[in-house]
Point group: C2
Chain length 283, copies 2
């Protein structure tokens, strides 16, 4: 009898329908059926009558429904009390300005829901520091992109996006459905300011040293494409901005969305962040 199982049972008992309960629990019906059956074996009583007419609660099931609700409610209260006893907690999250994808909002919602009393400070950083100031202690955890120098950090991959070249829509290459780095060899590129992580710099320049305007943010990179005719780079996934085209680059390693934190930092709020991030980016 675990709390997870009880949550399953409450869902089924309230819906009186395995399929709908499974949908509510964001899972499929067979494992739910199995879990309920195991619960019945665990408590040693039939909890639900299944018939063609539908699902109904047995007396034992009604008793468990009542008990499970209070138990789950109590568990939530315990969680709150622990959070309160832990004191006013705060966490600073660094977010690379670019990584505005589907995962982040889900993660924010999940984290807020899980730790309603934790003050989350966001520090959005531009492309000049993919670690978002982790090493300097400016943030506790970074939601960012690889690759970068990972020494002293622990990096947890959340997703990997293929990368494309950003070109003006009227560029002859923009009609191609895929490109190789060699196709862009004679173009002007962009570069990051001096002192930017070399691994990061090299990655976005396709492994070669390139010349071109200095950019600090995604928008600057895109503007450089428009105004200077340079080559831009972006992970695939989001719709390309107006007047621009994104063409997949088939010989460039995918860019990894990662969570990173300082090695050895045992702050549980960070661990929780990473756990929730993993879930948010998986679904």
């Amino acid at each position: 009898m675990e709390l997870r199982t009880l949550r399953y049972f409450v869902a089924v008992a309230e819906e009186l329908h395995f399929g709908r309960a499974a949908a509510r629990l964001h899972m499929s019906q067979p494992p739910l059926s199995r879990a309920i059956k195991q619960l019945e074996a665990d408590v040693g009583a039939v909890l639900l009558h299944r018939s063609a007419a539908g699902v109904t609660l047995t007396p034992a099931g009604a008793a468990l429904l009542d008990g499970a609700r209070t138990l789950l409610d109590q568990a939530d209260r315990v969680r709150m009390r622990v959070a309160a006893a832990a004191g006013a907690a705060a966490i600073t999250v660094g977010i690379l300005s670019d990584s505005s994808d589907r995962g982040a909002p889900r993660l924010a919602a999940a984290y807020r829901r899980r730790h309603p009393d934790v003050e989350v400070r966001i520090r959005e950083t531009d492309l000049t520091d993919p670690t978002c100031g982790l090493r300097a202690g400016l943030v506790d955890v970074a939601l960012t992109r690889g690759p970068f120098d990972e020494t002293g950090l622990t990096v947890h991959e959340l997703r990997a996006d293929p990368v494309g070249a950003v070109l003006r829509a009227d560029d002859p290459l923009a009609r191609r459905d895929r490109l190789e780095l060699a196709d862009l060899a004679d173009r002007r590129w962009f570069q990051f300011p001096d002192g930017t992580d070399p691994i990061w710099q090299s990655y976005w320049n396709g492994g070669e040293p390139r010349e071109g305007p200095v950019v600090r943010a995604v928008q600057e990179c895109l503007q450089a494409v428009l105004w200077n005719g340079t080559v831009g780079m972006t992970p695939l996934g989001h719709a390309p901005p107006e007047e621009l085209a994104v063409v997949p680059l088939i010989d460039m390693a995918p860019s990894r969305v990662v969570a990173a934190w300082n090695e050895g930092d045992a702050n549980p709020l960070i661990r929780s962040f990473v756990q929730l991030a993993t879930a948010a980016y998986r679904g």
Copy 2:
């Protein structure tokens, strides 16, 4: 935050020592450490201070200890209430008189602890029916030995014991450290009464039709060895009775201790029995 994890935490918080807590929980220390660390990530707070001086509770840990105790207590009450609502339940367990081994007492204790209000009726049966009257509906579940005709039954293996021949201590073969069936080919054997399961009969006679006195119980089989000089059979494990010797038979398939019930019988008390039996015979 699952009840199992909370049980772990309560143990550590009470012992203030990971090693002792692990021993109390019948597990080893590393997974316990990991579970506590995950719990900390889950609730987002440090629960324990670990220092060389020892383990101490943080305020958050103290809050959780309090909450976890009530939660676990409440869970037990819920279990009781469900059992009560299920009504006065009973289960009839068939036990082959022979299978008095270490697993059975553990299983009895676990089952009684898990279902204190369930009336367990024991029906001990002799060797004439390894199914303990399952098909006739005399018992709900059988704790017995294979092999036997399994049609219409569901059989769950709990353990497998190698088998030995029982001989008089002064028998020339009794000094051997192992025997083959061929060594006993010219001996008198024993047989079960007419109508006994043929698979069972054949197994204990080493696959051959044998002549000899009819036995109905383990004791009768052993007495036949003493008084009639026949060959006896027994699973290895228990100490041999006085005046008798047991020599392993290397070419006989092990005898399986099993739980069996009527196929399709959905009685949760049976499923629970099998679950607990599996655990009891594993440890």
